[in-house]
């Protein structure tokens, strides 16, 4: 997802400076969102999702100055920073997604906005495999899937950002009244009806922040 942020100005190219800008924006946004995400998570899980995101992004920002130009290696470092933050499965899932994008971008110093849909799709697929779950279960995968589909075929940074935000918001709305069938929240399937999935909520925030950076 973070790669979305790489869309800068008119060119919308993803490169090292774009990545650093995105990391700074996400880190400060997660400081602000931590309490709300913790509260959403406490209704269905152990209430640490905000802390996971905040700690994870702080560790990623600490590596921001040392990131190499190779986007693959840079994203791999971001992924590893996330795995250091905690044992939270959501943190590991995000790291898995980042590693999948890192593999796609290995050896490259820039990428174009038209690649975003493919990269988000790669993250979605590897996270589904790691989490042994599928799209449709009211998890973060559904937000990623919506974004990957909505941005498919788009080439312009501005319209990609717009489509991504609209798709993430819509996924949140579409799944709110469905029961969770995978992940920890499935234990509370009935209770989850009417509540946003905390992971979807966190990823939607991320999409909003990255779209803001892109515009």
């Amino acid at each position: 997802m973070r790669v979305l942020a790489g869309l800068r100005g008119m060119t919308g190219m993803i490169d090292r400076p774009a990545l650093q800008e995105a990391i700074a924006a996400l880190s400060s946004a997660m400081d602000g969102e931590a309490a709300a995400l913790n509260a959403a998570d406490a209704k269905l899980g152990d209430g640490d999702l905000g802390v996971t995101m905040q700690r994870g992004m702080r560790l990623v920002s600490q590596t921001a100055d040392e990131l190499p130009d190779d986007l693959g290696r840079a994203l791999m470092m971001c992924a590893q920073a996330f795995t250091r933050s905690s044992g939270s499965s959501f943190g590991t899932l995000l790291a898995t997604g980042l590693m999948a994008m890192a593999k796609e971008l290995k050896g490259r110093e820039s990428a174009g906005p038209a690649e975003i849909s493919h990269l988000v799709g790669a993250a979605r697929d590897s996270m589904a495999a790691r989490g042994k779950s599928a799209v449709g279960g009211k998890t973060v995968l559904d937000t990623l899937d919506a974004v990957a589909r909505a941005t498919e075929g788009l080439r312009d940074a501005g319209s990609i950002a717009e489509a991504a935000v609209a798709a993430a918001d819509k996924a949140l709305d579409d799944y709110r009244d469905k029961p969770a069938t995978t992940g920890r929240a499935r234990i509370f399937a009935e209770r989850s009806i009417g509540l946003d999935d905390p992971g979807m909520l966190a990823m939607t925030k991320v999409v909003h922040v990255l779209a803001g950076v892109a515009k």
Binding site: D46, G87, T92
Partner: protein, 333 residues
């Protein structure tokens, strides 16, 4: 919360510091994360390593079973929380003696994801071959048709013991892994809870239950069970638990099994032995030979009041390895 602690956030670190101070001949802290316990004795090159991991709050599981003839290293998370990938990577490295490492732990989503990723990392960075066997022995957590969704509980004690003995006598990675899997497949457990425990960092009980109630089949972290109702007598509770285990894994005349009657923390040994009368009677009536029964605190959930039963069906090799010598601070054979 009424607990003997200092800072809830230092709970795990202080526990590990005390564990290592009390048993320096068995355990040592390994690596930079401060959350890996490895065997104190030097590694034997060419021995298959066995690593486990999971949340704190279950002593002697998981950490306590690091020792001779058992497991080699363990990654320890916060109370009831998965260790991080980095801690698991450290633990795998600590267990590796050049012959590969078996990851042997309980079937919980977070632990599985993190151990899988840790395995990917050590395969790339260290060229360590890593296999996995998951314990999924809690019959109350999913029906037989979805056995792969079951949670891992006290059956892991048998897997540690039997696979650990095989690794100690020189079995290769494939053999040790296969034996661990055979043991995992031969274990069935069920728990019953009478009272909750409190996770120090959360500060409040994991679930609420009335004074005169119990919950059959409850998970070790307070996951919902099969039924909740009025507290029944020891014999009724034990009978129902044995019914559920034997229904899931029928044992016939002449078969052998070990059985673990385990306190979840607060339930005293006295009550475990009251329950064991029924366990042994039921198995003897079925013509099952009981091998090395275990009664005590082998896998706990802090101060939870309750009990779990585990049946482990044995073949010749498993029986021999169960009886082989082992040593850790909590169990010597």
């Amino acid at each position: 919360m009424k607990k003997l602690l200092n800072d809830p956030h230092a709970y795990v670190e202080e526990m590990l510091a005390g564990l290592v101070a009390a048993h320096p001949d068995v355990y040592r802290l390994h690596g930079e994360t401060g959350r890996v316990i490895a065997r104190a004795d030097p590694k034997r090159p060419g021995k298959v390593g066995i690593v486990s991991g999971g949340g704190s709050g279950h002593l002697p599981v998981f950490t306590g079973y690091v020792g001779t003839g058992l497991i080699d290293a363990c990654a320890i998370g916060d109370v009831f929380a998965s260790p991080s990938v980095e801690q698991m990577v450290d633990a795998i490295r600590a267990a590796d003696a050049g012959a590969g490492v078996l990851r042997l732990y309980g079937n919980y989503g977070g632990d599985v994801m993190n151990f899988d990723m840790a395995g990917d990392l050590v395969e790339i960075e260290d060229d360590i071959a890593a296999t996995t066997v998951l314990l999924a022995d809690d019959v109350a957590s999913a029906p037989p048709g979805e056995a792969e969704k079951r949670r891992g509980v006290a059956g892991m004690v048998y897997a540690f013991k039997i696979a650990g003995a095989k690794a100690e006598e020189g079995g290769d990675l494939e053999t040790v892994t296969a034996l661990a899997q055979r043991t995992a497949d031969a274990c069935r457990s069920i728990g019953a809870a009478l009272g909750p425990c409190t996770v120090p960092q959360a500060g409040k009980p994991t679930f609420e239950i009335e004074d005169d109630e119990m919950e059959m089949g409850m998970g070790i972290h307070g996951e919902p069970g099969v039924w909740r109702g009025r507290l029944r007598s020891a014999d009724e509770v034990a009978s129902e638990m044995m019914d559920k285990l034997l229904e899931d894994m029928p044992l016939g005349r002449g078969e052998r099994a070990s059985v673990l009657v385990n306190s979840l923390g607060a339930t005293p040994l006295e009550e475990l032995y009251i329950l064991y009368r029924v366990v042994s009677k039921r198995l003897m009536e079925a013509g099952v030979e009981i091998v090395m029964p275990l009664v005590g605190r082998y896998a706990t959930s802090m101060e939870m009041t309750g009990v779990s039963f585990t049946l482990c069906k044995l073949d010749d090799e498993m029986e021999r390895l169960l009886k082989a010598p082992c040593n850790c601070a909590f169990w010597r054979v």
